[in-house]
Symmetry: C2
Subunit: 415 residues, 2 copies
């Protein structure tokens, strides 16, 4: 039996215990994990140093090295994270609805854990703690497969997680990490429908695409965000400059950052020079359509590749549009259904944008950067789903649950 | 461009119009469809006769022939069905929640259509009307691929659907049927992530398995039900006989029919002879474990295949268990997470069964046959999901929608 099958099968067993665990027990485990993380700082950093040494020899690219590297502050952050998850309300057991049928049957729809959640991710060892905490809180077992470059760090963190579970009287097998680096095991994990109920890939576009294409286990697709800010003719133009600068520059490497700016022709000559000045002073390179380039001479021409791009960098594509119809068409054609904003004081334009733009989050007069579990008030974030099934947009704890119907009768039979 | 790509792309275009359509317009289309179905009875029956003649020559098995055959009553049933769907509340536009954040952002979570729903199904031409009505009501476009044996019937029904849409000013391309019988097109449909948002296979276990294994488009798995009725020692035994007879015999060919009976050892000698008499008088063949066979001599031995079987026939596997622990373990091991019932007057046993059995619907003192969209009060049924993501158990109109977040601000930017 492969390591995946064996650990997934043990996780399934453990998931039955986790599903029965009270909120009190699960919180006890999370708090024990936080305490033990702080106590095990030295061992975790030591394991992390081994990963870094190996990765250095293997010539891992710099950004990945940075994501791989832990320090005391990051471990303290993990501990605080586990405590924060313990403090959140437990969605398990919540009644979504309950009603009585004419024949007297009482039907309740109650939230229950999914079972076993698989996480496939890349370099960042903090994902190990974060993903596991959220799964534990929701009564799921979790099977982790991180990048092989982070294996020693991940194993050290999982040891802490398992010790915390054991301390609270919960099964250690509710969290486990795949240690065999063989890539075929990832494929096996994607096809382990017997034991794994949900797969969440976390990482770059290549990883996510591979999981979506190869997995027969249900997947939640997260990530790609080609987000637009549309400046309507009735936008307050100063406020509009602040918003596009925030959407583009406050963290250009994340999925809710803006990648394109659309501007109504009626205000383009007044708005674009102001916006360009503010964006350039933040180091942003602009690429534009012909009309944009007539107003902002010297910038590069934007091609279809630019309209489609998720730059994740200080680059912004700019297009002048006739009005809402062209803006909405452009967004529905090129967007990735993540986060889209209109800036306007026009009631009908705002309503139309909210109704017609097909995206997880549609904004009126706010930055796209708010698409985030914490900013939405969920207290946690499992990821940002860009698919339509099960969960869309920022996923909190509820999105790691399913429901069952509990039907109580007094001998009813069907006519 | 293949027929799938072409029709799926047109469906995607049409889905944008459908998403904007008011409930009034969608109902107008459904009522026009009902009227036109009645007017087109002769043409539909004529097309159906052509399918039947061809299927007869090709030697289609009898049960499939029966499912393929339409008559006036079935067409009247389709028209009534379209009218019933028009009368249901429209889930689109419903606010699931709306809340204000400390920074003043108003965040609403609002139901929207999924987009394009693909249905892959077998012989029954009434599925064409049923699936399309539910998709239209929920503002989705639908791409249908029925069995090639029902093609002429399906085309005739889709013509009526399209005429009804056009009459209401909605795009005809919101409903289309794949006419090319090439099996490779089914595979192409399963991988058409660009245009299709959800696939629902409707038919036998083989069809569903093939779609789950080959599809990269998200799938809702429906169907297989290996359902149990567990007679606890504190069950009222006469009532228990009525329930098992109802669960097994009222419609043995459906997924919510019982396939196994579990009986507490403490009541086995009194209960089993009574139950066997009632079941046998309904034509049921029993297969049992060793303890069952000691009480009911002469019945066949039940093997692991029986514990796993979805007979869909008048056969029932019977096992004597020590008590709730063994019953729950058996169900969680062999069940298909569909519908499971305990019969008891014991409070703790009932609670434990509800908590620990992992199934879409868990019953106390009622027949498993109630797992059904109509019996649950949804007014419609898209199918019964046996998966955990997106929808579980009977699916009504809501389960054909997703949501988006609509975020309204006054210039908020992220700190």
């Amino acid at each position: 039996m492969s390591e995946i099958k064996e650990k997934a099968c043990q996780a399934k067993e453990a998931s039955r215990q986790m599903a029965k665990a009270t909120t009190g027990k699960k919180n006890q485990a999370l708090l024990a994990i936080a305490r033990r993380l702080r106590a095990a700082k030295a061992q975790i950093l030591e394991a992390n140093r081994r990963d870094i040494a190996r990765a250095g020899t293997a010539g891992l690219p710099k950004p990945m090295m940075k994501r791989l590297t832990l320090d005391e502050a990051k471990i303290e952050g993990m501990a605080t994270n586990a405590e924060a998850v313990a403090a959140l309300p437990d969605p398990v057991g919540e009644y979504i609805a309950q009603w009585r049928r004419p024949n007297g049957l009482l039907i309740g729809q109650v939230r229950v854990p999914l079972g076993v959640v698989g996480i496939i991710y890349e370099s960042r060892p903090n994902v190990t703690l974060e993903a596991a905490s959220l799964c534990l809180k929701t009564g799921n077992a979790v099977l982790l497969r991180g990048g092989s470059e982070a294996l020693a760090s991940n194993v050290a963190i999982v040891e802490v997680l398992q010790a915390g579970l054991t301390e609270a009287g919960l099964p250690a097998a509710a969290v486990s990490v795949v240690t065999d680096p063989d890539r075929r095991l990832a494929l096996e994990m994607m096809r382990c429908n017997e034991y794994i109920d949900l797969l969440i890939p976390r990482g770059g576009a290549g990883l996510i695409k591979s999981v979506v294409e190869n997995s027969t286990v249900p997947v939640i697709e997260t990530g790609v965000g080609n987000c637009h800010v549309y400046v309507h003719r009735e936008a307050g133009l100063d406020r509009a400059v602040d918003i596009i600068v925030n959407a583009k520059c406050s963290n250009p490497a994340v999925c809710n950052a803006a990648e394109s700016l659309l501007v109504d022709e009626a205000v383009a000559t007044t708005f674009l020079p102001k916006a360009a000045e503010a964006l350039r002073s933040n180091g942003v390179e602009l690429r534009g359509c012909a009309k944009t380039r007539a107003i902002l001479p010297g910038i590069k021409e934007a091609t279809d590749e630019d309209w489609a791009a998720e730059y994740l960098d200080l680059i912004l594509a700019v297009k002048v549009v006739e009005g809402p119809t062209e803006a909405i068409d452009h967004i529905n054609r090129w967007g990735t259904r993540h986060s889209e904003a209109i800036l306007t004081n026009d009631y009908l334009a705002a309503r139309r944008f909210m109704d017609e733009v097909d995206a997880a989050a549609v904004y009126v007069n706010a930055s796209t950067r708010f698409t985030d579990g914490y900013e939405f008030g969920f207290g946690a974030e499992v990821g940002i789903s860009t698919q339509k099934l099960h969960a869309r947009g920022p996923m909190g704890l509820r999105e790691l649950t399913t429901y069952k119907f509990v039907v109580q009768g007094e001998g009813q039979i069907r006519a």
